[in-house]
């Protein structure tokens, strides 16, 4: 077996027991000191009447349980993880070491400024570096993830238009290939979504865009390279079309990894930029989070950023929080954002430095181009243009054997790899979106290419092998329709009247994008 495939059978642990099933009256893991002050009785109205049904387990039960759960999971440290659009690169261990220093990990968010000068210096220097990387003027660190950054950027856009043209305007344009968070954020910011189609090259259709742009458009959200992994070569025309009517250009930083040190969003005409530290700066994805989504803006938008922002008094050499921001949109996080994640991002940015960051981008693009060149014979590229850090292929040629992109993905699991993103972007049939990232060796890419080509042959010769995959994992294909129909969302199975899902929620794995 190759690197990475989770082991299917390890004795009795198959059919993993739940925590509650390990519970036994009288067992305990916790220990607390004896109460050393007088006991307090609360009046009955403030007393809980029933005990919460938490498990009673020994510490060793907890250890075995979660160790076993980890064994049933696949991370970057396990093996290749080419999940397109997610930049699943190696997460440096040194970033963990430094983030665990008590001087960062044990800071209370309400500490006065004189006790957190190191934290503020870190944020100030990270801000300067991110401004340089993006060509922007100022940064807010409050947004806790990419989607939070999008919404923050859109609220800044709203504030800008409200202030400069007397109203927020009504619409935001997004490409049809965009990530789902873009339209969802547009709605949450109180705007209407207008979709611009991709042209035959997979790029924003500039002619269509020019027809859609009017004085009610607040802005356009765009990734560049775009969600198809292609560079929007007409970006200057796109920027001009928006700016002509006073609209703003929003850079979704999902794909920033491709262009670090080569191209800056600000130089392309973007006004607002969010970054995903868990993508570009290798902070761990944590099974689905935490991330951090710093938002950078140009000089004319900086007064609208969430408050406070970091300030530095060069004369006194002292850092502080600047709360005096009358035009600020307010607060988008309870405190100052995911500081612990930002410490890791700082370590990544300053550990790499100017040349290292450029190399990251170059190697990411090299890896994607190399892998694409090896597999495009069997999995044609959805669009002709040269890929940047990722590429979108289609498994459409395998359809004649009754095989779909998801079948390819499941078979790859048996061959020891995490699959690519599938069924996204929505504009490509049988899409397979592959992002190898810069931290993979040529040998890994060769092995993955070989596996993909093998699967294409198997699809013709023995498609059942694909339909039945995976067979090496702790569980095999799962019944998603049943999960949505019978709704068991907690261990007691008591979920009131939650049964009976609507038709749309019982779409199966075969239909929805894995992103």
């Amino acid at each position: 077996m190759r690197d990475g495939a989770p082991v299917r059978a390890q004795g009795a642990a198959v059919g993993q027991r739940g925590l509650l099933e390990r519970s036994k009256a009288g067992r305990r893991a916790w220990s607390l000191p004896e109460l050393d002050v007088p006991e307090v009785e609360l009046p009955e109205v403030h007393r809980r009447s029933t005990e919460p049904g938490l498990p009673r387990v020994a510490e060793v039960d907890v250890i075995r349980h979660f160790t076993r759960l980890a064994q049933m999971n696949y991370g970057i440290d396990t093996g290749f993880y080419p999940l397109g659009s997610c930049s699943m690169k190696y997460n440096p261990k040194v970033a963990e070491t430094v983030a665990a220093l008590p001087g960062f990990q044990r800071l209370h968010p309400h500490q006065p400024e004189e006790t957190i000068q190191g934290a503020l210096e870190l944020l100030w220097r990270l801000e300067r570096a991110l401004c340089e990387l993006t060509g922007m003027a100022r940064v807010t660190f409050q947004p806790p993830a990419g989607a939070g950054g999008e919404l923050t950027g859109l609220l800044v856009m709203r504030a800008y238009h409200t202030k400069s043209s007397g109203g927020p305007r009504g619409k935001v344009i997004i490409p049809d290939s965009s990530h789902g968070t873009n339209p969802a954020s547009v709605t949450a910011a109180g705007y209407r979504v207008v979709q611009v189609p991709s042209d035959s090259r997979g790029l924003v259709d500039l002619g269509q865009l020019e027809r859609l742009v009017d004085e009610d458009v607040a802005g356009l959200m765009l990734t560049n390279p775009n969600t198809l992994g292609l560079f929007e070569v007409e970006i200057q025309g796109i920027a001009a079309a928006l700016h002509r009517v006073g609209a703003l250009l929003y850079y979704d930083g999902a794909n920033l990894n491709a262009i670090m040190g080569r191209v800056r969003p600000g130089d392309m005409g973007f006004d607002i930029v969010h970054m995903n530290t868990h993508k570009t700066f290798a902070t761990p994805h944590g099974g689905g989070g935490p991330g951090a989504g710093p938002v950078a803006v140009n000089a004319r938008l900086e007064r609208f950023l969430p408050a406070p922002v970091v300030a530095f008094d060069e004369d006194g050499g002292r850092y502080s929080w600047d709360h005096d921001r009358p035009d600020s949109i307010g607060h988008v996080h309870g405190f100052h954002g995911n500081f612990g994640v930002l410490v890791r991002a700082f370590a990544y940015v300053f550990g790499h430095g100017r040349d290292g960051l450029r190399e990251v981008g170059e190697r990411a693009v090299l890896n994607a181009n190399y892998l694409a060149s090896k597999v495009k014979g069997s999995y044609p590229l959805a669009f002709e243009g040269p890929p940047m850090h990722e590429f979108v292929s289609t498994a459409k040629p395998l359809r004649k054997h009754g095989v779909r992109a998801m079948d390819v993905a499941k078979r790859l699991i048996d061959l020891g790899f995490h699959p690519s993103t599938v069924y996204f972007p929505l504009v490509v049939e049988e899409a397979m979106m592959v992002e190898p990232t810069e931290t993979e060796t040529k040998e890994t890419l060769d092995a993955f290419a070989e596996a993909l080509l093998r699967v294409a042959n198997e699809a013709a010769e023995d498609p059942n092998l694909l339909h039945e995959a995976p067979v090496t994992t702790p569980v095999r294909r799962l019944d998603e329709a049943k999960a949505a129909r019978e709704l068991k969302l907690r261990w007691s199975g008591q979920h009131g009247d939650g049964g009976g899902a609507d038709a749309e929620s019982v779409r199966t794995a075969a239909d929805h994008p894995t992103i």
Binding site: E150, A188, I235, G351
Partner: protein
């Protein structure tokens, strides 16, 4: 530092396979006008040793809760984090994975989240939980969104004793859909029972509230529900071994700051947004939800479910824009709650309650110092008016090795929080330092 593993020979061979001769060729199709024609103005890279030294220097400029005895609260608390929590949560296979899009490779994260959801339901007495949101205040924003969508009403009433950070965050996000939270009348440290009109979507009470007091949640929620509004509670997960659950108090939706569940202080994040609701709102829940099912062989397994609510399917009609959430923090919470169990949770609550009361009574006995609301029943924190500038008192306390706060400007007071971690000796020394600080 450099983690790209390419040798020079690799680069040459790979370029050749693509029909290219230099790395510049990878960018040759980009418009020249947008290419950066200089080096980034960022310092040169560092070796790992140099980086660690620099990070130690920065960390050393801070004073942490390791060298100040922490009596600070206001939404983040110095509870003890047992050793096993991060030893288990930090395991590579969990730590370096992403959203479980391929369930067969992700049963570890999925089962842990299923257990997290189960525990949150057990704690709150409510029927459904999601798999995490960002933090307490943004979870409240999502709860209000659910309430507005469920009731098709606009107005949002918040208690005057709700943590102000929650109100500010709500005000910011309300700017999109166009609502503004209205602050209800206060009655001392508690919320006065409001008149709730039939245009009110949500009534929000924090229990224990911002001032640590056990608020009149039952009565306010009864009024809210009688008027057809959603009753939303901001709760403290670690109070639920002894205090009534949100369900018992009559909440429809409950949200919390989950930092207290095994997560580090970390200067305010990453924390954990907890949300639970009655099943009537299940299809309005934001974010990921894990469900149990079976595989083709009938074996039990877990998947992301009800995805038709979510942005990657529903796009502009999604219940929320959230994608990346705080899964890792939810896993830490699950490990922590497994460690505590129902008995540990009850004992922890009992200790917070007793220690806070002991500290409050000791401070109240100092001359010139008074509790802002002496009649309030409190759980683990309280507001104290030191009789002189609160900021100055806070600063003097730091000089003596104690952290208290935040400062409450309006009340000219200081919040003091006492967790299970504080010993009688530490409390006694803190009270002594306080006496000195106000003299």
């Amino acid at each position: 530092m450099q983690f790209a593993p390419h040798t020079e020979e690799d680069v040459r061979e790979m370029l050749a396979a693509c029909g290219l001769s230099s790395l510049d060729d990878l960018y040759a199709h980009l418009p020249e006008a947008v290419l950066l024609d200089r080096d980034l103005d960022i310092p040169a890279g560092l070796s790992e040793m140099e980086l660690v030294a620099e990070m130690r220097r920065l960390a050393g400029l801070n004073r942490s809760a390791d060298d100040l005895v922490c009596f600070a609260g206001g939404g983040a608390y110095d509870h003890y984090v047992p050793s096993l929590v991060w030893a288990l949560t930090g395991q590579s296979e969990l730590y370096t994975s992403y959203t479980p899009y391929q369930p067969e490779l992700s049963q570890g994260v999925l089962q842990a989240l299923f257990e997290y959801q189960s525990m949150i339901c057990e704690l709150t007495g409510l029927e459904v939980s999601n798999a995490s949101l960002y933090d307490g205040p943004t979870a409240l924003v999502e709860a209000v969104h659910m309430a507005r969508s469920a009731t098709r009403r606009d107005r949002v009433l918040v208690s005057g004793a709700l943590d102000r950070r929650y109100v500010k965050t709500l005000r910011t996000y309300g700017g999109g859909p166009g609502y503004r939270p209205e602050v209800m009348e206060a009655d001392g440290a508690l919320t006065a029972i409001p008149r709730v009109g039939d245009d009110v979507a949500a009534v929000i009470v924090q229990y224990p509230n911002f001032f640590g007091a056990l608020d009149r949640a039952r009565e306010v929620f009864r009024a809210a529900r009688a008027a057809g509004a959603r009753a939303i509670q901001v709760f403290d997960p670690l109070s639920l071994g002894i205090l009534p659950s949100p369900a018992e108090l009559g909440a429809d939706i409950a949200v919390a700051e989950g930092q207290v569940l095994g997560n580090h202080l970390s200067y305010g994040g990453p924390y954990l947004g907890v949300i639970a609701a009655r099943s009537q709102d299940i299809r309005r829940m934001p974010g990921r939800i894990v469900g149990e099912t079976t595989d083709v062989e009938g074996q039990r397994g877990y998947v992301l479910t009800l995805q038709a609510r979510e942005q990657h399917i529903r796009r502009e009609r999604a219940t929320s824009n959230i994608c990346t959430n705080q899964t890792l923090m939810a896993i830490a919470a699950t490990v922590y709650l497994a460690w505590l169990g129902p008995d540990g949770l009850r004992e922890l609550g009992r200790q917070c309650l007793a220690k806070a009361r002991y500290a409050a009574e000791s401070l109240a006995a100092l001359s010139g110092c008074e509790l802002v609301w002496p009649e309030a029943e409190v759980f683990k924190e309280f507001a104290v008016r030191p009789g002189r500038d609160a900021e100055e008192v806070q600063s003097r306390l730091i000089g003596m090795g104690f952290l208290a706060g935040p400062v409450l400007q309006e009340e000219a007071a200081l919040l003091v929080s006492v967790t299970e971690r504080r010993t009688r000796d530490e409390i006694d020394r803190f009270v002594k330092a306080f006496e000195e600080a106000i003299s």
